[in-house]
């Protein structure tokens, strides 16, 4: 059997969780936060519980993020975390056992250079990207480089995405489709709207890759509910807050799926 492309590894890991009758779990952390030295050990801990791991590349102006990710991003930058550092750390680390996706705003990727970035991602075992300020219409140049290296460019869709656009984004998304559950920024602590299940069903109807729901996911009850309509859930701000409080992330993540 030929080796899976990086982007296919993401899909396969999410599907494997579903095969075991579980909703897939995608934990997110801001790289190097709250403790830069504990970056790889934290990753290992969350990779044990998660099926795909999402690492946030800190950016000075995270305009789609709430207060938690703003705080973690600014602290990480102040501690010297950069995209170069993240990729160096990942390259040096042993295999985490779960595919890694980087979440980054566009400017750090532009500053790195797309081609050099893709090459180093392959060396570091990174399988793809989520870029919250890169809409489909602006993504051709970056996507071409991702394609060349078999890396995923995960598309985000939202509850206000019109149906024809939803179809286009779902068809174009690689690895999985990131279904934003709320109309808002990350990290909220509000009840997910009752319409979220219909919306997720609609997203799923447009795509053959898994659908992962994210933004504002904090509680096991939400994970269970979303799990009936999505292949996976993404947990970011709530996990970052656990790490900030010095808690062991593993039991928190385990409890979300119990």
């Amino acid at each position: 059997m030929s080796k899976l492309l990086p982007r296919e590894q993401i899909t396969a890991a999410l599907e494997a969780a579903n095969t075991n009758n579980k909703v897939a779990l995608v934990p997110f952390i801001t790289a190097g936060y709250p403790d830069k030295d504990a970056f790889i050990s934290t990753l290992k801990a969350i990779a044990t519980e998660g099926d795909v791991v999402e690492i946030g590349v800190p950016f000075s102006d995270p305009m789609a993020d709430g207060v938690t990710i703003q705080r973690s991003s600014h602290a990480a930058i102040a501690a010297g975390v950069s995209l170069h550092w993240i990729l160096d750390e990942l390259t040096a680390a042993e295999d985490l056992g779960a595919p890694v996706v980087l979440m980054s705003y566009l400017n750090p990727l532009l500053a790195f250079g797309y081609e050099a970035l893709a090459k180093q991602c392959i060396a570091a075992g990174v399988c793809g990207f989520i870029v919250p300020d890169l809409p489909w219409e602006e993504s051709a140049e970056f996507r071409a480089v991702m394609d060349k290296y078999g890396l995923a460019l995960v598309q985000l869709v939202t509850p206000v995405t019109p149906d024809d656009r939803l179809e286009m984004l779902c068809k174009g998304s690689q690895g999985f489709v990131y279904a934003v559950t709320i109309t808002g920024i990350t990290g909220g602590d509000v009840a997910l709207p009752p319409t979220v299940t219909d919306y997720l069903d609609q997203v799923k109807s447009h795509t053959s890759v898994p659908v992962c729901a994210g933004f504002g996911v904090r509680h096991a009850s939400q994970v269970e509910n979303l799990g009936h309509h999505a292949n996976g859930v993404i947990v970011g701000s709530a996990l970052v807050e656990q790490l900030e409080a010095g808690a062991d992330p593993a039991p928190f993540l385990r409890d979300l799926r119990s």
């Binding site: 305009m63 500053a111 995405t161």
Partner: protein, 423 residues
Amino acid sequence: MQVDITPQQGAELLARLINNELPDKHGRYGPFGGCYAPETLVPALSRLADNVYRYLADDDFMAHLDQQLSTWVGRPTALTHAQGLSKRWGAEVYLKREDLAHTGAHKINNALGQALLAQEMGAKRVIAETGAGQHGVATAAACARVGIPCTVYMGAVDIQRQAPNVDRMHQLGARVVAVESGDKTLRAAIDEAFRNWVADPDGSYYLLGSAVGPHPYPYLVQRLQSVIGSEARSQILDQTGSLPDVAIACVGGGSNAIGLFHPLLADESIALLGVEAGGHGPALGDNSATLAAGKPGVLHGSYSVLLYDNDGQIQDTHSVSAGLDYPGVGPEHSLLQALGRVNYVSATDTDALNALQECCAAEGILPALESAHALAGARAWAKDNQGKAILIGLSGRGDKDMPTLSQHIPSPLGEDKGARADD
């Protein structure tokens, strides 16, 4: 700059810009511009673009806007022959007096136009960011006039240094939200306004105050501010019978500058000079001279020249003037620099403070600290170009800068003893 434009491509792009064929349908000014927005805002921005092209071509809408500009804003604003400065500088200096526009700066041209657009689009509320507070005050006033509730995001640092404008916004019925995140200035205020818009893209109208941001904002703001350059061009022809040798404006995000420059682009005899904030000096972080020291990147929804470090992190900036204290610039300015049609220079805090005092003494006009950068740039230009006609965009009045000015310029009361000793 990493952008390569051949001379032939440059000539073509300039011709298209003059013919209002730019931005293209993707919001591009050559390589610059575009729409790098979070997915949640993409449908709202697309709807906004449709409405911008529809209403700016609608005779009834434009007639209503003109009527409001005339009877409420007080347009046309005066073009003043600055006799004192002309004599001191050895030039013929003309000031386009946006300080005389309602609420005291050019910002009202854009705020009113967009508030009327928001009304046509059925917006339930307006959100805006502000740096110096001039755009916030203009938006608060325009929203009160049009009858839409308004929330203004303002960096906590700017709230301190532009306190008079905060009170004005409150009086005009706006809710002012202090932004404590990031650098607590204009850049953080824009981040926060976007975050708020993401939560309500259908009901809220984001009234962006500068010629920056995702498409269609740079185009919309340029169109609404071009009244400055159009008026100034015909006024100076009326008063002097000829066009100026140079037109000079300060550049932060670049809205007053694009409003002055855009209508003059076709006049090849007019040199165009943008003056950025040189702050304390040329070191990274000590200024806001984006076009002098930046490179192309993406911030706040568009690809344009930016100040950022090797890791892509946006650089903290400094300027004595809150309105220029911004690490980016509108995409049309990035193109105009790449084409060489506009020359961009910088003036330091000290240059600007000196020019402000000179304008007060020579003309009896207290300019905004932002506008004082244009005056400083003009003074330097005049030194090398004696006897020429200079058109300066005086973008706003300086009342709002009194807290800053009293810190930097000793009050005569405090100098009483020294002054007497000199007598």
